[in-house]
């Protein structure tokens, strides 16, 4: 008797635990988010972002043999109690150029819930909820719709990166 797994829907979560003096500087990332939003529109390369991105890619490769290639990075600023529903990072009309995974990183967040929608065979419309915290990442398939639910009283800053897997 055999079992073959044809596909899986995984959600990877974790905290960035870099060596001492190599911590991610959230204030710098917030500055970069503002800069990309209001000046450049492109999220700029920085040592800080590179440290974060390399950490995520290397540890996912090490722990789960998941080989990720960067597609796009951008930052979001959420006003108090601002919610976004049914986000989808895959372009259903252009699957070839769409990412495989979306990564959400909590730069500076509080009371932020990520609600991932998925189907489990005939059980449709299921939800998996994860609270996004500071210095935490959540990675899941770009085919999953998701909601970002903010219940905070201040601004929330989230960095999003899409990846292609090989």
């Amino acid at each position: 008797m055999n079992k073959n797994i044809l596909t899986e829907q995984a959600v990877y979560t974790g905290f960035i635990n870099t060596p001492k003096n190599y911590e991610i500087d959230s204030k710098e990332l917030i500055k970069d988010i503002y800069e990309s939003k209001f000046i450049n529109n492109e999220f700029k390369f920085s040592k800080n972002w590179d440290l974060l991105n390399t950490y995520i890619r290397e540890f996912l490769q090490l722990k789960f043999h998941l080989n990720l290639k960067n597609k796009k990075t951008w930052g979001n600023i959420f006003r108090p109690k601002e919610n976004c529903f049914h986000l989808l990072e895959v372009d259903l009309n252009d699957l070839k150029n769409s990412p495989d995974y979306i990564c959400l990183y909590g730069v500076n967040v509080s009371n932020c819930l990520i609600n991932i929608h998925y189907n489990d065979n005939r059980k449709k419309g299921k939800e998996y909820k994860v609270e996004l915290k500071n210095n935490m990442f959540i990675i899941f398939s770009s085919l999953n719709h998701f909601d970002i639910i903010n219940n905070q009283n201040d601004l929330n800053y989230i960095l999003s990166t899409t990846y292609e897997s090989s």
Binding site: P19, N21, Y22, K47, L51, E58, F59, Q61, L62
Partner: protein, 149 residues
């Protein structure tokens, strides 16, 4: 070309990079590991002490070109850096296996698998059987298995 492994604070190998020899030499043109480590810290955003030099030609404490082996094995992603014994080891295959420091490898508690008999070797060579000893962790024994079955 020198090779350095990037390790985590838990001594897991995250990556292996090649560095130009000139970037590992001091002012007197001597290759010094700490020079390479410093170079990598500057250019690769990871602390110097977490870059460990590794030898491309070393496997199980033997240099494949007849030279002097260096640090047990060439490091690969997922390998473990053992700072006490100054060697790289592949991931531990079974929980009961222990380190053979001399040969920089893991070994079962009852030693290596037995050699194939002459008859089994002939069958293997002629392609009628694909004999291999597989470790049975539950029963702590080597099982002779024909992979063609």
């Amino acid at each position: 070309m020198a090779h350095f492994s990037k390790i985590s604070e838990e001594n897991e190998v995250l990556n292996v990079l090649a560095v130009d020899d000139k970037d590992t030499k001091n002012d007197s043109n001597q290759e010094i590991e700490s020079v390479g480590q410093q170079y990598l810290e500057t250019h690769n955003n990871w602390p110097a002490h977490l870059w460990i030099k590794t030898s491309y030609n070393t496997l199980q404490n033997t240099h494949r070109l007849g030279g002097t082996p260096f640090r047990g094995n060439y490091a690969g992603i997922g390998h473990i850096w053992d700072p006490q014994n100054n060697i790289f080891l592949p991931p531990k295959p079974f929980s009961s296996w222990t380190k053979n420091i001399e040969e920089a490898r893991w070994q079962s508690p009852i030693g290596d698998a037995p050699e194939l008999t002459e008859e089994q070797q002939n069958q293997y060579n002629s392609g009628t059987h694909d004999w291999i000893y597989l470790w049975d962790e539950d029963n702590q024994t080597w099982n002779l298995t024909n992979l063609f079955d």
